[in-house]
């Protein structure tokens, strides 16, 4: 059964949305949260396991100090208070991908709490309040084989990979976000984007949504315009890209509006987002709230961060993305509009890296937002996913600046790099794309062109210097674009005995 949707504008005319986001970020620590197993992604199934993360009888957890430090840094970057004393707690429920059948998490004593993150949407700053940042462990990964849906229901059998079990996971929970109105989808996306940038700047996670190292659960509820009491919310999972964050909010608003307008009620439940349709479908009902029987984890001692240490971590925080963006915008002399365009295209980090690799900001932006954006669009992929690095772009701009390439040749070089022909220098060499700088070769071409365009040559000799353009065009054509146009112009004028 497909859900009825109400067109977005109509839904917003009748209802106000309230958002909430719970984001899980896998920390990039070398070892797991409670044992020494490696965390590297992509190893053969069940090879990064030990008695602790398999929950063999008798094994005990010991907390990863690096993970605690990373969590505190995240909390500080999100303007949170840091607990002076807090404990891990057990969240009890049975599921085959959770070896202990409880997850070590935090309950009423999170490591970080009461913070905020400012995001820019449509030229205005929206402050997202952070309720808590806590540390927990990831579960194993179940694969359900057979059946139509890939879900556990109807599967023939399931297999579990425990490599992921015990990887440190930070959960960042916002307070409810009212007042976003029709910008709710964009706010949700902007928050997830900004959060990802913060994680990157801290260097605590690779935050790859497609690999699941950052996962967003999006809560949405609607209330009739003018109402003061919030409606029943749903929690959408399986939101695996920034674009999906935005789409899932929009689709859930449209779905809930249709139900409410029809006199129905929203069921409190988990829903799953589907990339292909852009719709959510019903998952587990939360009406009969599961009782997780939380209690303080007796196998671990409380965490008591030394205030001096926390102060030092705070002092050593890197420049945060919003601050950095403001600084770089000034450095680069870029308009607000261009900054927003770069941000929306996810090009900012790439441009920054390209500048860091030595390219002028204007050139770096020009290539990423122009030629490369066009090619990414054609290929149906993202800028970051293009098989080209900021360093390679920087090299291309260097070749153009030195006169070895012009823009037209540079585009061919980029095409070659994207086609897997190697580095920019490899492509230049293999395709023979250098500008012709050899005056002898150029001189021969010019002589041919002058001979073939005697009329134009005469006009120039007669003082009509503007006519030189036609001859330069001829040289460029004859050299198949490889000539240095400026040099060619000078040589033509010299040969014709004209000075400017």
């Amino acid at each position: 059964m497909t859900d009825t949707l109400m067109p977005y504008d109509e839904a917003l005319a009748q209802f106000e949305p309230v958002l909430g986001l719970e984001t899980h970020v896998e920390l990039g620590t070398v070892s797991k949260m409670f044992c020494g197993c490696p965390t590297a992604f992509g190893a053969p199934p069940n090879t990064h396991v030990c008695p602790v993360c398999l929950a063999l009888p008798g094994s005990l957890p010991t907390a990863n100090e690096m993970a605690i430090e990373s969590t505190i840094r995240i909390g500080l970057a999100l303007n949170c208070s840091i607990a002076g004393w807090c404990r891990f707690a057990r969240k009890n429920y049975f599921y085959p991908d959770m070896p202990k059948n409880y997850q070590i998490s935090q309950y009423d004593e999170p490591l970080c709490f009461d913070g905020y993150l400012d995001v820019e949407v449509d030229g205005r700053t929206v402050r997202i309040e952070i309720e808590r940042v806590h540390l927990e462990e990831d579960t194993g990964k179940s694969t359900h084989v057979g059946g139509a849906t890939g879900r556990i229901q109807g599967a023939d059998y399931s297999i579990v990979d425990y490599n992921r079990a015990g990887i440190p996971l930070v959960e960042i929970v916002t307070k409810p976000i009212p007042g976003t109105d029709r910008l709710a989808p964009e706010v949700a996306r902007a928050y997830a984007t900004e959060l990802r940038e913060v994680m990157r700047s801290l260097g605590v996670s690779d935050v790859r949504m497609e690999e699941g190292s950052m996962r967003c659960d999006v809560n949405v509820s609607l209330m009739p315009r003018g109402a003061t009491e919030w409606g029943t919310r749903t929690e959408t999972k399986n939101v695996n890209s920034l674009r999906s964050v935005e789409r899932s909010v929009r689709s859930e608003i449209e779905r809930q509006a249709a139900i409410l307008a029809d006199g129905g009620r929203i069921v409190q439940e988990t829903r799953h987002f589907h990339e292909d349709t852009g719709l959510t479908t019903s998952g587990r009902s939360k009406e009969e709230a599961q009782d997780y029987r939380y209690f303080p984890e007796p196998d671990l001692v409380p965490i008591e961060p030394d205030p001096e240490w926390v102060a030092r971590l705070k002092a050593e925080l890197p420049e945060l993305p919003s601050v950095r963006r403001r600084r770089l915008q000034a450095d680069w002399g870029v308009s607000d509009l261009d900054m927003a365009a770069m941000h929306n295209a996810d090009a900012f980090v790439l441009v920054e890296a390209t500048v860091a690799a030595g390219a002028p900001a204007a050139d770096a932006r020009k290539w990423w937002m122009g030629e490369l954006a066009r090619r990414a669009n054609e290929a149906g992929t993202t800028l970051a996913a293009l098989p080209i690095t900021p360093a390679q772009i920087a090299r291309v701009t260097e070749l153009v600046a030195s006169g070895a390439l012009n823009d037209k040749l540079a585009r061919q070089v980029l095409e070659g790099v994207l086609a897997g022909e190697g580095s920019p220098d490899d492509v230049v060499a293999a395709r023979g794309l250098q500008i012709v700088n050899d005056d002898g070769e150029l001189s021969a071409i010019i002589d041919q062109v002058i001979a073939a365009n005697a009329d134009a040559a005469d006009k120039i000799r007669g003082g009509k210097i503007a006519a030189v353009g036609a001859l330069v065009g001829g040289v460029m054509k004859a050299s198949r674009g490889k000539a240095d146009a400026g040099r060619a112009r000078q040589l033509i004028l010299d040969k014709l005995g004209v000075t400017e």
Binding site: A55, G58, F94, V160, A289, F295
Partner: protein, 496 residues
């Protein structure tokens, strides 16, 4: 005197000097096991060839000049909750029948490194839940003093093996009294170290905040030597205390109470206590005074609430600790016929694999932790726990150690309390407070009850990390009583 009747300290010395070998000592104990196991049933696993191979290896290490500890070459029996990489580990449960751990517990590993030879794995109440060893899935262990009676529990195989001369030493675990009570009812020494003083890594958990590995021996010095051999900080157990092991061996050798202040816990005694137990306890009090100790009565009013608090905290933790036994990765699997869901297989396995007492405690704990009940049950129990710790703290401002009977009664007949969990739980009345507060406590023999001739234990409780005081007072009591009795109490046990 035959090898099996010697103390562990003496065996260690004879092996070190080459007067005997580890192989000879192991063989003597294997012979004893073969002779008496059909009656006692202390062991769940013994592999004679493996034992002799270990003993030969230790003899070779010693011959090669390797310096091992004072117990090198001495045999030991491990309670079957410590993982052993070369032997099955069952926790006395069907759900782990035949499971072979891929790793050694820290206690196991440290004692191997010290050159002790593992005779086998001893019987216990399933997952250490019980006071009689009747809750074992593999049948009860019998008390060497009277084969119709229980050897205590949950470490009943451990106590019986030492009392029956099948092993000179054994390990146990004490969550609510599971070392001290079996030691008391079999006439031997059993020590619960300070919580965190001995590593829980590789100990199959019952109640994490209470479980404490400790030693059994036939005398106080042997217990201290074993205590010292496996104790100390372990980075694999984050609740392990990073402090030096208290000087327990030195204290056991000191064996003096002169000038010590000793407190008698006022709340332990009266109704429910067997007269013979109270009589022997009073004798011990008088003895301590005669040895130069100053004995006073001390009130610990919160101790009255220890038992109910314990029966909320321990089951709560166990309900979570035992969740991992789900048939997915190891152990028993029931009903996996290709048609059932994982959830159904988990439920069928747990229904078939756990015994009634384990199920009772899982249900109790699940209930106590439930939303809406947590504060009233688990929360209140934790508050009681704090009060008990404060009672101890206040008491230890007045006295150096506290004493009480270890258990209210002597060993009861097998089957007598099997259907009455409340009566069974009362066996741990005097031992539970030290588990809740995490302090050290020992049980040493103090004679036999007049009415049944069975052993009675004296409990000596010391502050956190005051383990040495238990040994010091215990050894003084032992020495004075043995002078009076003309040897160890165990000499009076009937021949098997």
């Amino acid at each position: 005197m035959s090898l099996i009747h010697k103390t562990a300290a003496e065996l260690g010395r004879l092996i070190a000097t080459g007067e005997t070998s580890s192989v000879e000592v192991a063989q003597a104990h294997l012979d004893r096991i073969a002779a008496v196991e059909p009656k006692v049933h202390a062991f769940l696993h013994v592999d004679p060839d493996g034992v002799l191979a270990q003993a030969r290896a230790v003899d070779e290490r010693l011959a090669a000049g390797e310096r091992l500890g004072p117990l090198a070459g001495v045999p030991i029996a491990h309670k079957d909750v410590f993982t052993t990489a070369d032997m099955p580990t069952t926790a006395g449960s069907k759900i782990l029948e035949g499971w072979r751990p891929p790793y050694d517990a820290t206690v196991t590993q440290r004692l191997r490194a010290a050159g002790l030879v593992i005779l086998g794995k001893t019987n216990l109440d399933e997952f250490a839940m019980g006071s009689s060893t009747e809750n074992s899935a593999y049948g009860p262990t019998r008390n060497p003093w009277d084969l119709t009676r229980i050897p205590g529990g949950s470490s009943g195989g451990a106590s019986a093996s030492v009392a029956a001369y099948e092993a000179p030493l054994s390990t146990g675990t004490d969550t609510g009294g599971s070392i001290r009570q079996p030691a008391a009812v079999t006439g031997i020494v059993g020590m619960k170290p300070t919580y965190g003083g001995s590593s829980r890594y590789g100990l199959i958990a019952f109640a994490s905040s209470l479980d404490t590995p400790g030693p059994f021996a036939r005398n106080v010095l042997d217990a201290a030597l074993l205590h010292e051999a496996f104790s100390g900080h372990d980075p694999m157990d984050s609740t392990s205390i990073d402090a030096p092991v208290p000087p327990v061996v030195e204290a056991a050798r000191q064996a003096s109470v002169d000038g010590l202040r000793i407190g008698v816990v006022k709340e332990f005694g009266g109704d429910g206590y067997q007269p013979g137990v109270l009589a022997r306890f009073q004798e011990a009090v008088d003895l301590l005074e005669s040895l130069g100790a100053k004995v006073v009565e001390v009130s610990c009013p919160s101790f009255t609430y220890a038992l109910p608090a314990y029966y909320l905290i321990a089951p709560s933790e166990c309900s979570s600790n035992l969740a991992r036994f789900d048939a997915m990765r190891y152990g028993l699997r029931v009903g996996d016929d290709g048609t059932r869901s994982a959830e159904e297989v988990m439920a069928l396995t747990r229904a078939a694999g756990f015994g009634p007492e384990v199920k009772r405690r899982i249900m109790l704990g699940t209930y106590a932790l439930s939303s809406g009940y947590y504060d009233a049950y688990y929360g209140s129990a934790q508050k009681v726990r704090t009060l008990i710790a404060r009672d101890f703290e206040a008491a230890f401002h007045q006295v150096d150690v506290l004493i009480s009977p270890t258990t209210p009664t002597t060993a009861f007949p097998i089957g007598e309390r099997a259907d009455d969990p409340m009566a069974m739980y009362l066996a741990d009345l005097c031992t539970i407070p030290s588990n809740l507060a995490g302090n050290a406590a020992i049980s040493v023999p103090c004679g036999r009850a007049d009415e049944d001739g069975l052993p009675v234990g004296l409990q000596i409780m010391a502050p956190v990390l005051g383990d040495d005081r238990c040994y010091r007072v215990g050894a003084a009591v032992e020495k004075a009583f043995e002078d009076r009795w003309g040897g160890p109490l165990l000499k009076e046990a009937p021949a098997l």
